[in-house]
């Protein structure tokens, strides 16, 4: 039985069992590989997407439970039209290996939608579930502040 899923504004018919996590629907059925598998137990944040604007660990959301429109890193912005958070990531040269950055960026974008002028503590709290083994945290903090300022028009 096919399930209808709207990802980055496009509706897809997905023919997979109901309990397949959204992460693996995106990656293996829809070919949207920007969302990463890191742990499968919501411990690393690499699979973070937005569902109706809310940050969600896609490894923990079953296909049948997806409650709204999904936005992935590919839908947030593109190389030709970067989202403010992505542009700040480029400006501050954040990524090293880059594997966790899709999740970091989706989490940061969600934070800024609710908290336009976050403190370091706000950033730390929002991003403490997103693991980075390369150690990009200082540049993530700087980039989130820069993106916030940009979005506020400051």
């Amino acid at each position: 039985m096919a399930t209808t899923l709207t990802v980055n504004g496009t509706a897809h018919q997905v023919d997979l069992p109901d309990d397949v996590p959204l992460l693996w629907v995106l990656r293996d059925a829809l070919g949207l590989t920007g969302t990463k598998y890191g742990c499968g137990v919501a411990a690393c944040g690499a699979c973070t997407v937005q569902i109706d604007g809310e940050a969600a660990r896609s490894c923990q959301v079953a296909l049948a439970d997806v409650w709204g429109q999904v936005t992935t890193i590919e839908g947030l912005g593109t190389p030709a039209a970067l989202h403010a958070v992505q542009a700040a990531w480029v400006e501050h040269q954040v990524a090293q290996c880059g594997y966790c950055q899709s999740g970091q960026i989706m989490q940061a974008a969600t934070l800024l939608a609710a908290t336009p002028d976050p403190t370091d503590e706000d950033i730390d709290t929002a991003l403490s579930g997103n693991l980075c083994r390369c150690g990009t945290y200082p540049r993530i903090r700087a980039a989130v502040h820069a993106a916030a300022a940009n979005l506020r028009g400051a």
Partner: protein, 749 residues
């Protein structure tokens, strides 16, 4: 990202007679013998193994694994600096696995001697020894050697290519080459005539390059020495960067493996009846020491793998980490494998009644690499060809091992190197690539993506070995009069080299004692012996390798000596370094100034210092900790390093901070333990790393006083761990000699 395969394919599709291999330009005469692996098509030219020019512009071959350390930026910058192409026009690819891309820099670590006081003879030896990696095509990313190896080689590649492009223009215009200039991908002739490189490339490829060209002095650099925009950045913030786990092909199937958790043990039996009946499952493959499940979706494959009932045989090593540590400790009393430093006379020196003798023992646990991208590789076996896509730090070895595993010749196997979702040494191994090849062979004709679960990844690593040290020191008038260190651990070098080349190198294992024997400290009696413990647990290269444990042993003990002698720990080290190695003294002075080391510390604040000279780079670190309620918080850290020449300061800074955090994570909380012969940690909840709210603010100062370019990817890791332990001592008065520290203190979580 461009792809060398695509270039090759396009050439094929055009149906052109490929330009013969003879167009390759040697950089040096002796490199002429190594064939250029790039096969250009019509309208394309490859001026040497690092440069491809076609209608679309200039593509540079990095030939090293981009695992976050910035080689896809710094290596192209070396070529572009001399070639004169605009940065925004530079494209980079990994290129094929090939002998031409051997890493000669690895041999800079091979001499069994300290390297901070290299003699001219040693330089000559190192140069001569690069013949070995060349002969065996040692294309390996590791040892913090990528820029060291590339520094001259890639600038020469850019410069000689520029000169033949100018010669091609000179021939066409009937002008002397010396009257021409180059700028942003064009040759400029007097009178405003401009010819683009793309226009000249095919003609240029037919011209014999000059033997060597004088390289531009630093004062003329446009790209090097600057923080360049990373060429991989936009891809990595838009989800477009392709890691091995992301490789998708038409009709691809998705697989996972479940190998014996008793590493090196056997699989006695399995029952896949339930698994094979699960939705989406194609089949379960018997891999001998484990199974693979092939399905329509990775998650369905993982679910089915869980449902396979498997009986495992015993492991070829003791069942518990406690028993293993006993074996490691016992090796301290056995005959040494190495005595790479033996100054003065430790056995017969006289000890005055006024001298202070101190002794201490330390241990560190096994550690996993835990790269963010679990092990993964895609493979497509078509009968007489095997194509592999993998994040490999050693693609030549991977091709050879995969070929053996599926009964093909090495030249029938191609390993396409993708971005690496973290490497840290783990992806120098070929185990995950061989398994993907075997799965692909079993489903011949169908491309397959083989992704390990995090649990499989964490429980099937080549671990940083557990290690033990016994240290003895003599203080005379507050100065270090003697230091004797014994180190015991399983040998990473022997195991890893045996896997790569089929035989373990005999003789002293330098990697086992690096970070202790080769420190630039003037201690009149200074002996370090390495003792190899015989354990069959798989061990491998983990960021900074032997330095990762010896740095902790040495710099914890130096701290103990300083304090026992009533000395300031930083001043004590400075005394030792000043008489031995000026750059090391320089980083200690810098970090003292940056951290305000001499100032009074507020109540509830502790600071610790440590210095390790590794990968030719001295790095000094100060870590500040505070007691906040019941928790210890890492508030700030300062790093001073001397890298000789900082080719890209932004990347150097990122590597220093990343190396520091990598070590702090291990020191604070990381441990792999065994019970019943199986690794007990399975996922990030029980093998975590530093999170953003735990990460201290860091300030980095990059010094450039050393004559040699030196490594940046690893050397901040070793001193980070003792600096933290020393800071905790400063705060609490408790000397913790066994890692991880969270067995004894509570960090903010």
């Amino acid at each position: 990202m461009a792809n060398w395969g695509k270039i090759a394919r396009r050439s094929f599709l055009i149906g052109s007679a490929a330009v013969a291999g003879g167009v390759a330009f040697g950089v040096y005469q002796y490199r002429r013998e190594l064939p250029n692996p790039l096969q250009p098509g019509v309208g394309e030219a490859t001026l040497n193994p690092w440069i491809i020019i076609n209608q679309d512009g200039v593509t540079l071959v990095a030939a090293r694994a981009e695992m976050g350390q910035g080689v896809y930026t710094t290596l192209p910058a070396l070529v572009a600096e001399e070639l004169d192409v605009a940065w925004e026009d530079v494209r980079v690819i990994h290129g094929p696995a090939a002998q031409a891309y051997y890493n000669g820099g690895l041999m800079s670590h091979a001499l069994p001697a300290t390297d901070y006081d290299r003699t001219g003879f040693q330089e000559v030896m190192i140069e001569a020894m690069t013949v070995l990696p060349k002969m065996i095509g040692l294309q390996v990313t590791g040892g913090s050697t990528s820029t060291l190896d590339a520094y001259e080689k890639l600038r020469q590649a850019g410069a000689t290519a520029r000169e033949v492009l100018k010669q091609a223009a000179a021939d066409r215009l009937g002008l002397p080459r010396g009257s021409l200039e180059t700028r942003d991908g064009r040759v400029i002739a007097p009178g405003g005539i401009e010819l683009s490189y793309t226009d000249l490339a095919v003609e240029a490829a037919a011209i014999d390059p000059p033997r060597s060209v004088e390289l531009r002095p630093r004062s003329q650099w446009r790209y090097l020495g600057q923080s360049m925009p990373r060429l991989d950045m936009v891809e990595k913030v838009t989800g477009a960067a392709e890691f091995a786990i992301d490789v998708r092909m038409p009709d691809m199937r998705f697989a996972t493996v479940r190998m014996t958790p008793r590493l090196g043990g056997e699989m006695l039996s399995f029952d896949a009846t339930a698994a094979e009946a699960m939705p989406g499952v194609d089949r379960v493959i018997d891999l001998g020491t484990g199974i693979a499940v092939v399905a329509s979706n990775t998650w369905l494959a993982m679910q089915a793998a869980d449902a396979v009932e498997i009986e495992w045989g015993p492991a070829p090593y003791p069942e518990t980490s406690e028993e293993m540590l006993d074996i490691i400790r016992a090796a301290l009393d056995e005959a040494p494998n190495s005595t790479l430093r033996d100054e003065g006379d430790i056995d017969r020196m006289e000890i005055d009644p006024a001298d202070r003798v101190i002794e201490a023992e330390y241990t560190v646990p096994w550690l996993a690499h835990a790269t963010m991208e679990p092990m993964s590789a895609a493979a497509h076996h078509t009968g007489d060809r095997l194509e592999i896509w993998a994040g490999s730090q050693a693609p030549g070895f991977a091709e050879a091992r995969a070929a053996e595993a599926v009964g093909l010749d090495a030249d029938q196997v191609s390993c396409h190197v993708t971005y690496l979702g973290g490497g840290f040494g783990r992806r120098g191994e070929s185990d995950f690539i061989v398994l993907a090849a075997r799965v692909a062979q079993a489903v011949q004709g169908t491309p397959v993506q083989v992704t390990w679960s995090r649990e499989e990844d964490m429980r099937h690593d080549f671990y940083r070995p557990a290690a033990a040290a016994r240290m003895r020191g003599v203080l005379r008038n507050g100065f270090a009069h003697a230091l004797e260190g014994r180190v015991a651990a399983p040998s990473v070098t022997r195991q890893a080299m045996a896997r790569m080349t089929g035989s373990a190198p005999p003789g002293p294992d330098k990697g086992h004692v690096e970070g202790m024997f080769n420190q630039p400290y003037a201690i009149p009696n200074y002996r370090v012996t390495g003792h190899l413990a015989d354990l069959a647990v798989p061990v491998g290269f983990w960021r900074s390798v032997g330095n990762s444990f010896n740095g902790f042993f040495m710099e914890s003990f130096i701290d103990e000596m300083a304090i026992a002698g009533g000395r300031d720990p930083l001043g004590f080290r400075l005394d030792l370094a000043e008489r031995e190695h000026a750059p090391t003294a320089g980083v200690l002075r810098a970090v003292a100034e940056m951290s305000g080391w001499a100032a009074d510390r507020p109540e509830g604040t502790g600071m610790g210092v440590a210095m390790t000279h590794s990968f030719h780079t001295p790095v000094a670190v100060v870590v500040e900790v505070q007691q906040q309620d019941r928790d210890i918080v890492l508030t700030r850290a300062w790093i001073a390093c001397d890298v000789g020449t900082a080719l890209d300061p932004s990347i150097v800074e990122a590597q220093m901070v990343g190396g520091l955090y990598f070590g702090l994570s291990a020191a604070m909380m990381e441990e792999i333990s065994f019970a019943g012969g199986e690794v007990q940690q399975v996922n990030f909840p029980d093998f975590d790393a530093l999170r953003i709210h735990q990460a201290p603010r860091v300030e980095v100062r990059i010094l450039e006083t050393q004559a040699h370019l030196s490594g940046v990817g690893e050397p901040a890791t070793p001193p980070s761990m003792p600096a933290l332990a020393n800071a905790i001592y400063d705060l609490t008065g408790e000397r913790i000699r066994d890692l991880p520290l969270n067995r004894r203190v509570r960090f903010v979580v």
